[in-house]
């Protein structure tokens, strides 16, 4: 079974703080994704990566950056957290050429 692990289930940060969300997958998947889930908006793609050191902007990249130094790890960085970044953040991975995404359990981030 594919395991996608997100480092924190719940996180509370202050406005202006730099925030790191970590995601690790154990199935040697090439593709990794960061989504945020908000009520009524579904899952929106922030950034994705097709392979190590590669990154592509999704639909809502503003205020975020990512890092993929190793194949199994994909980090989402909030450079200066703002209250409108309070959300559920979901990491996913996928084998290259396949459609199915495997998700982590999510990180509920609150920015105060």
């Amino acid at each position: 079974d594919v395991k996608v692990t997100q480092s924190s289930r719940y996180l509370v940060k202050r406005t202006g703080e730099k925030v790191f969300l970590e995601c690790v997958q154990d199935m040697d998947h090439e593709n990794m994704f960061w989504y945020r889930q908000d009520p009524g908006l579904g899952l929106r793609l922030i950034y994705f990566s097709y392979d190590v050191k590669m990154k592509e902007k999704g639909d809502i990249p503003e205020g975020y950056s990512v890092s993929r130094e190793k194949k199994e790890r994909f980090s989402l960085i909030l450079e200066s957290a703002s209250t409108n970044q309070t959300s559920m953040y979901l990491c996913a991975s996928r084998l290259d050429g396949h459609e199915k995404l495997f998700f982590g359990s999510g990180t509920q981030l609150s920015v105060l």
Partner: protein, 112 residues
């Protein structure tokens, strides 16, 4: 503008009856569709998928129907069980472009 729409934010069904969740899309280039199920405080899990070359795919109690001319798909759950209570996300892919677009989700409640 949302490319994948789930116009019913919520649905209540009696245990044992059929649940029908609907999804509409606007991009005729989408050629693969997936349904994901999400429990609170967990990541979405893959349920069932369908390629645009088919009009039906069945897996146990779950059947997905695709009407390409209407740009509409539906997920049927028969019989519905209380454990099916969750949020269901429809997702669409244009495989040449390789981006997964999610709908806003429908919250299903199966009443015992």
């Amino acid at each position: 503008d949302q490319q994948v729409k789930q116009n019913s934010p919520s649905l209540s069904v009696q245990e044992g009856r059929i649940s029908i969740l609907n999804c509409d899309y606007t991009n005729s280039m989408f050629d693969y569709f997936l349904w994901y199920k999400k429990y609170p405080a967990e990541g979405p899990t893959f349920l069932i998928s369908i390629s645009s070359i088919k009009d039906k795919n069945e897996d146990g109690r779950f059947t997905v129907f695709l009407n390409k001319s209407a740009k509409h798909l539906s997920l049927h759950i028969v019989p519905s069980q209380p454990g099916d209570s969750a949020v269901y996300f429809c997702a669409a892919i244009q495989t040449s472009y390789d981006k997964v677009i999610f709908g806003p989700g429908t919250s299903l409640s199966v009443i015992p």
